[in-house]
């Protein structure tokens, strides 16, 4: 049997083809940055920063009477529900605009003999939503009918909600599923989309945004330090414009949702940066009204316009005189926020632009984890890993040589082990997955079990797995005798112990019974880890599962054949 015959063996042919394909996949190809392999590395090797965010919120079912809510809000003596409207009776008068402030525009008020009758057109759900929104200062959405579910987009607990509803005689509905931490899938998607576009505007090359368990968002950013990343992402970015009335007091003018469009920041010749933006018609009206009410159109300098991002003032300046003059005449929709000069101004303009453009995140987010590794440090890790690999492989090779003392065995064994690594990397590169420190640790693990299995195959084939080389004691001799008897028996049956012989095949299948069992247990143990730790061990578990499969299905069967061939030579 020659070496070309062994290649016709299907197991060997598959194996050789697989190694060849893997080599082609990971072999460096010329790119615009020089020669680059298709292998991608994780942030902990490549350098970059990461953020782990929790979307705060809950989906809840509530037991609360909307009439009670209105009764409390209006301090009413009686609330009646007729069809799709509520009639609220109040002793005395109701302040002008109270209904509007509570979220019921178009409420009718009739005053008669010391009492006031307010008619509100509203569904029960919208009364509850209105109440929760103002009480919790957040967005609340109805997300389910039968049972009615409310999505509360801030950090609440069952206890805090019960506390809030207790004065109204209400509570969270009983049962586990009446209070679910997290937000709905569509809210998660919406948040992810806003985050994606916010981050894309930073102009980074490689951004990954992943969602875990509908409440955690994991973001990987290459080439940015963690401080910047956290500033852009961690804040929900609630934008507000206020106007100075008298002294240090300010009043609300409008929120970010009145901003219709934003232009890219521009600097003038003096290095002053501004962000042009356009208000909606209602926004422009509100702005004009607030400016006139405060007196800013007449005396702009005493009534500065300030902009807030998450309650932090990011901008404050008087109205430009020409803008003040035109506001006096009619609403103005096109404006510009001047944020400052130089690099600081440019940065501030960019940040303001991002927040104005993308608007607020639909939910509150909390940063629960973050970090950074610089590119230089990552390179050092990578080099140390490569050194670790080489040394581990050398140690293994030395042990194999020490045990078998034959190059004919050591070479195929070490190269089989190495080829398994090549194939794993090939799969990784082909799938576009990133190699991080965890998956490199996984590769080391696969090398370890891989060599174990090659030792099992080799021992079975060489000695029928019976003999030991510990000492020359009688038990060993007896064991050898067993092996000899086996071989004699085989010879009597006219079969050689070569690669096609019955003994050889029997030994190989015995070896594989052990190997497949061991591989199955390893794979089973790794399966749960695919999901553990926000994906921190996913790479580790996945590369072990794939590596073990590659080993038992491709590399080790071929090794068995090749070794049989070598033994027959």
């Amino acid at each position: 049997m020659s070496w070309s015959d062994i290649l016709k063996e299907p197991r060997v042919a598959f194996y050789v083809a697989a190694v060849f394909i893997a080599l082609i996949i990971i072999f460096p190809v010329p790119t615009e940055h020089g020669w680059d392999s298709r292998l991608k590395y994780g942030l902990d090797i490549e350098g970059g920063s990461w953020l782990q965010l929790q979307l705060q919120g809950a989906v809840v079912q509530l037991d609360v009477d909307p009439a009670k809510i209105l009764e409390m809000q209006f301090n009413a003596s009686l609330v009646e529900h007729h069809g799709d409207s509520y009639i609220v009776d109040v002793n005395g008068t109701v302040p002008e605009g109270l209904a509007e402030d509570l979220g019921y525009p178009g409420a009718k008020m009739v005053q008669r003999a010391g009492t006031t009758k307010v008619t509100i057109i509203a569904q029960p759900e919208s009364v509850i939503v209105n109440y929760l929104q103002s009480a919790l200062d957040t967005d609340v959405k109805v997300v389910g009918v039968a049972p009615v579910q409310y999505e509360i987009r801030t950090n609440v607990t069952r206890e805090s909600l019960n506390g809030l509803l207790a004065p109204l005689g209400g509570s969270v509905a009983p049962g586990e599923d009446a209070f679910m931490e997290g937000v709905t899938t569509s809210t998660v998607d919406e948040t992810k989309k806003v985050l994606d576009s916010k981050l894309n505007r930073l102009g980074l090359k490689d951004i990954k945004v992943r969602v875990v368990d509908n409440k955690f968002v994991l973001i990987d950013l290459a080439g940015v330090d963690v401080g910047t990343a956290q500033d852009v992402v961690g804040k929900p970015g609630k934008f507000e414009i206020r106007i100075q009335t008298k002294g240090n007091e300010t009043v609300h003018v409008l929120y970010g949702d009145s901003v219709e469009s934003v232009d890219i920041p521009r600097g003038d010749r003096g290095g002053n940066w501004g962000v042009p933006f356009m208000l909606s018609e209602e926004g422009a009206d509100a702005f004009r009204k607030a400016a006139i009410d405060a007196g800013a159109t007449k005396n702009p300098d005493a009534h500065e316009i300030s902009m807030y991002l998450d309650k932090d003032e990011i901008f404050s300046a008087p109205l430009a005189p020409e803008l003040a003059a035109s506001l006096q005449r009619s609403p103005v929709r096109n404006m510009e926020a001047r944020v400052g000069s130089g690099d600081a101004g440019s940065l501030k303009a960019k940040e303001l632009y991002i927040h104005l453009r993308e608007g607020a995140l639909p939910v509150n987010v909390a940063v629960i984890g973050s970090g950074q590794v610089t590119a230089a440090l990552g390179r050092q890790f990578k080099m140390q890993m490569v050194i670790a690999f080489v040394i581990a492989l050398l140690a293994v090779a030395f042990m194999i040589y020490y045990r078998y003392r034959e190059r004919k065995i050591v070479l195929p064994m070490v190269s089989t082990s190495f080829s398994e690594v090549v194939m794993m990397l090939g799969v990784w590169a082909a799938m576009g997955w990133q190699l991080d420190l965890a998956s490199l640790a996984g590769i080391i693990m696969v090398i370890g079990t891989g060599v174990d299995h090659l030792v099992i195959i080799t021992d079975e084939l060489l000695r029928g797995g019976e003999a030991v080389s510990l000492s020359e004691r009688s038990i060993k001799e007896r064991a050898e005798a067993v092996a000899d008897r086996e071989a004699e028996k085989a010879e009597k049956e006219g079969k050689a112990a070569g690669p096609s012989g019955k003994v050889y095949l029997a030994r190989l299948s015995r070896a594989f019974a052990i190997i497949l069992g061991a591989a199955a247990t390893t794979i089973a143990a790794m399966f749960p880890l695919l999901r553990m730790g926000f994906g921190a061990l996913t790479g580790f578990a996945l590369i072990i599962i794939i590596g073990v499969l590659i080993g038992v299905l491709l590399a080790r069967p071929a090794y068995g054949r090749i070794l049989g061939h070598i033994m027959a030579d």
Binding site: G369, A441, I444, S471, R510, A513, L529
Partner: protein
């Protein structure tokens, strides 16, 4: 005393006293740690929450301490040409200041912040997934052998390996991190490898248990010692190289994984070739009617 002697000369029950004593010792160590800290192994920063910063610096330790005096600095360690600083909990604003301080003063800083929500979720996940992982392994072992006693012994050995390795973590001061969780789970794989080899050989071959165990031992010791050789070199490399080559950093993840594996593999050698072998000897040589009927 030769290993072969242990395998075949002494009665199984007598030899079994050694592994039982070692297991008891491991449990005592884990129990003491549990009693004093609330968890059987010391938890690393990933599980407790906190901030980890490594910076390249040649300053003295006290100078570093002074520089970060305004922050809840919990620990400073020299790891080669770098310092590793561990901080306790702090609020967003302070963390932001720390990040900008670190990034403005040092060029190659590594920063990791693990908030309480993250670390608690991680703890819960570890408590949930690691037992599942072990259980799945156990089920596969049962399917492979279809013999309750032999399967139980294999599973017992894997569990003991993990417990001994965990006890050594406490003794050597290695804390539980994602890396060491991974290492403890790697141990399942390595430990089961040799136990399956042994049990398969004993179960499927002809001859006395002692002969077959000894035959398996040659292969099994070779398997564990190749792995051990690799692990030992990683252990030395990660713990010593940075002392020899000043530009290198101690790689914590490799150092921790290799420490756990080192002790785990030694425990595995012991458990496979003492515990498992003696259990099999006792099982197959016991004077039982059922056994005789099967033959």
């Amino acid at each position: 005393m030769e290993l072969e002697d242990i395998i075949s000369r002494y009665p199984p029950r007598q030899v079994m006293a050694i592994p039982v004593a070692i297991l008891a010792l491991a449990l005592i160590i884990l129990g003491t740690t549990y009693y004093s800290s609330g968890s059987p192994v010391k938890l690393g920063v990933e599980f407790t929450g906190g901030t980890l910063v490594t910076i390249p610096a040649t300053d003295s330790e006290s100078a570093i301490k002074e520089k970060f005096a305004g922050y809840p600095l919990a620990d400073v360690r020299n790891i080669g040409s770098r310092y590793m600083l561990q901080f306790g909990p702090m609020n967003d604003v302070m963390y932001g200041q720390l990040v900008s301080l670190v990034n403005s003063q040092y060029e190659n800083a590594e920063i990791r912040f693990m908030g309480p929500i993250y670390s608690q979720a991680l703890q819960q996940e570890a408590l949930r997934y690691i037992p599942i992982s072990f259980l799945l392994m156990a089920i596969v072992v049962f399917i492979i052998f279809r013999e309750p006693f032999i399967s139980l012994i294999v599973i017992f050995c894997a569990l003991t390996d993990i417990l001994i390795a965990a006890a050594f973590m406490n003794l050597t001061g290695v804390k539980l991190s994602l890396g060491t969780v991974a290492a403890l789970l790697m141990l399942i794989g390595y430990s089961v490898d040799t136990d399956i080899l042994l049990s398969m050989r004993v179960l499927k071959r002809k001859g006395t248990v002692e002969e077959k165990a000894l035959g398996a031992m040659g292969t099994g010791l070779m398997m564990t010692s190749t792995t051990l050789a690799a692990v030992l070199s990683l252990f030395l490399l990660s713990n010593l190289l940075y002392l020899v080559v000043p530009s290198f950093t101690r790689m914590d993840i490799i150092a921790d994984i290799s420490t756990v594996l080192l002790f785990g593999l030694l425990a595995d050698m012991f458990n496979t070739w003492i515990t498992n072998v003696q259990a099999l000897r006792w099982y197959f040589n016991r004077p039982s009617k059922a056994r005789r009927q099967r033959r």
